[in-house]
Symmetry: C2
Subunit: 509 residues, 2 copies
Amino acid sequence: MSRTDSSSSETLKRFRELTNRVKQYEELLGVVYWDMRTGAPRKGIALRSEAVGALSSEMFKLSTSNEMGELLTRLTQPDEHDRLDEINRRLVKETHKEYERNRKLPPELYREYVVLTSQAESAWEEAKENNDFPGFVGYLERIIDFNRKFIELWGVKATPYDTLLDLYEPGITTAELDRLFGELRTRLVPLAESIAKSNDQPDTSFLTGTFDKEAQKKFSRFILHEMGYDFDAGRLDESVHPFATGLSPGDVRITTRYLANDLTSALFGTIHEGGHALYEQNIMPELAGTPLAGGTSMGIHESQSRLWENMIGRSRGFWQRYLPDLQALFPGQLVNVKPEDFYRGINVVKPQLIRIEADELTYNLHIMIRYEIEKMLFNEGLSPRDLPEVWNRKYTEVLGVTPANDAEGVLQDVHWSGGSFGYFPSYSLGNMYSAQMMHVAKQRLPKLDEQVAAGELQPLKQWLTEQVYQYGKMLEPKEIIEKISGQPLQSSYLCDYLEDKYKDIYRLE
Amino acid sequence: MSRTDSSSSETLKRFRELTNRVKQYEELLGVVYWDMRTGAPRKGIALRSEAVGALSSEMFKLSTSNEMGELLTRLTQPDEHDRLDEINRRLVKETHKEYERNRKLPPELYREYVVLTSQAESAWEEAKENNDFPGFVGYLERIIDFNRKFIELWGVKATPYDTLLDLYEPGITTAELDRLFGELRTRLVPLAESIAKSNDQPDTSFLTGTFDKEAQKKFSRFILHEMGYDFDAGRLDESVHPFATGLSPGDVRITTRYLANDLTSALFGTIHEGGHALYEQNIMPELAGTPLAGGTSMGIHESQSRLWENMIGRSRGFWQRYLPDLQALFPGQLVNVKPEDFYRGINVVKPQLIRIEADELTYNLHIMIRYEIEKMLFNEGLSPRDLPEVWNRKYTEVLGVTPANDAEGVLQDVHWSGGSFGYFPSYSLGNMYSAQMMHVAKQRLPKLDEQVAAGELQPLKQWLTEQVYQYGKMLEPKEIIEKISGQPLQSSYLCDYLEDKYKDIYRLE
């Protein structure tokens, strides 16, 4: 080790060590969380949660340490900062933001919160299984109380809920979301109404029946291969709530769930999580092991899952190519189905109770309901005990369907058990981002439709890698969408896309 | 929080915090190791190994910190020590021993070693698959060099190898092992020779064929249930090298491997690992979360796996009860097999190449070979590059079989890739411990044979829980065997047991 290193490169070296250490702990915790969700034994959960809390707390201490503060102070001074390369600049900026945020939380409070949410996820699973909201609401109350405290400590933005939104989509506000959701409502509700009145409803009879789980698994794996998912850098498992987790670009895991009586659940769930996974697997190698090796925001992340799930996986061309493969696995149910009928069947619009099984159009209404409820919880003091009532009322009002029980109502999503308030809007942001991106992709790849219809999915994956995936957190969400499309996020691309698609399917006008 | 705590209880509290923290990190690392062995994606291994190294190194720092040293100094002073309850005394003693040992290792050296062994295990898997010893020997050389350094730092006991032996079986020496293996050889080699000459060889034809993997899995799960393995506190998976890992008493996992052409591999592998697991699942709850929640030595641990695998799983009574269940799953192969023939078939003695598939009798010879080779590596400067030659020569000399390649020779075991030199003798120690324990068990449970033949395995599990499992590390191996049998470890019980069993099976004399 030479002693000619200048003090500035020593600062940078130590800073990189510290941030990489934090990332390493995050990776290990990621394995443990994955394990908890894919079959960790019930009786080990309590102690495991304590251990997770201990390491999270250590990670938190590192990222908020005085040493980290001093390093950041030095590295943000103009003379030091000018000498940094692009990656290190971005790393300093991201770390600084996290540091400022986390320094405002007392470590003990944070540790308790991690233990609580770690236990709450198992409690939610049980509550959902047993339709037992009262058995879960105590966790929820405590999680919400913690979040209210966090908001106070971080500082209230325009509204308390704005403070949470910023965690998942930097810069987004309730004001902007109110506007975007308003525009979606203005154009999509009439569309949904026309669809409901259409006399040309798709046949969906072939989508229900009994579908062998092993055959479903086989097709899920096949489609992931086709998308370019790298099984040497990931694996496919099962869990109650499907998810993707990027532990490192070399280990990006997917889960799905196979329902015996529903072909589409695992099918589109897998493609959705596969989209998340393509993002994380294709981050540039230079970022691996650093905190920049991850998606830049939840909205951009969801844009990729939903682009692959809906704009590819539910497209006409995709099933021209892949229906024969699916038919070969399920000859009994699908033998006489034509690609066009299959395409129409999987795109049926039908208001129903479960978000993750919703169609592309009404999905945004599921999100709107959650968005409104979260605003009520944090901006209007809604009590968690009143959630089932509010939930059921809104579903009845907005979607015209009423949950028969909490398992298919307020207990359906994992997010709140993990404390992810402010996350849900990301799904609709993702829909809007993806439509805006695909609008450009079709200009840049003029043969895209034909390629998809021929099972050539790699040109699109390659284009998305160049435009989005490779950057990890090197670019902000706003930078990404403006770089691709030359303008900020709009709702119009999504509305145009949905109108075109559904007017065709339902033969409207 | 009251301020009336005396300073001594503050010391204890902090000591417990620190030791529990170390145990928590160990538990998290245990999950990650389990994951690496049961299907973690190949491309994530390099970065994962770095992360494992980072946390192991943090764990190491905590357990060797000056604070830990000061706490131990205070807690070992007579006035403080007298006030401790039994659990805390034992905790102080165990921690002190670890502290003394670990303080002698430079943290950076240790970190490098953890990263190395973490990578080496994947390298070994690949090398074994590709029969590529040269591709692995570089790892092995470095691991051995590290161990030689460790021995120097810890201090050479009677011989350098003695220093390693003490890690796994406190107090054992090459002198004692030379004596014990000598006695085993004196009585078992003539026995094996008589068996080879017997004209009454068991029929084993029904054990080969094609055995459906799902049916094998089903039977493995069934037998674990019968043994009293708690699936709410564990899970059964597959891995190249079967193992059991006790992450906490509420999460004790087993792996096995299913061979399509060999019924016995998964069957006895599962029972073996199940024995390890019963030990860890039944440690008294008061020890959970502390470093005392684990087996007291590798020899005692192996005594339980081998007791269940051989003395129960390969007993006559066991198959009187369970053969019909096995036949129901494999009617084609087993329909006409009688319990007595099955019993004789699974106990066939046949020198062969693979340790984990060896019979009960020659198994000890496999261990003896490894013991002798490890002594050569550390006491006689054997070069790792010469291992295949030495290995093949010894197998030819001792067992009369010669590996056709390194995959079925020197590459067959995972242990060395993880740096576990000095571990192998534990298996034969386990055999000796188990025979000595079963000698007593049959006196204490006079109906044991009938119970096993009726599928009543819980009285034995209960007795072993009382005598062994519950204590975790509260008792030393020597204390356990003396408390049970009133005397130190003897080789004679194992020899008596094997002579009785095999003279009967082979109808000798």
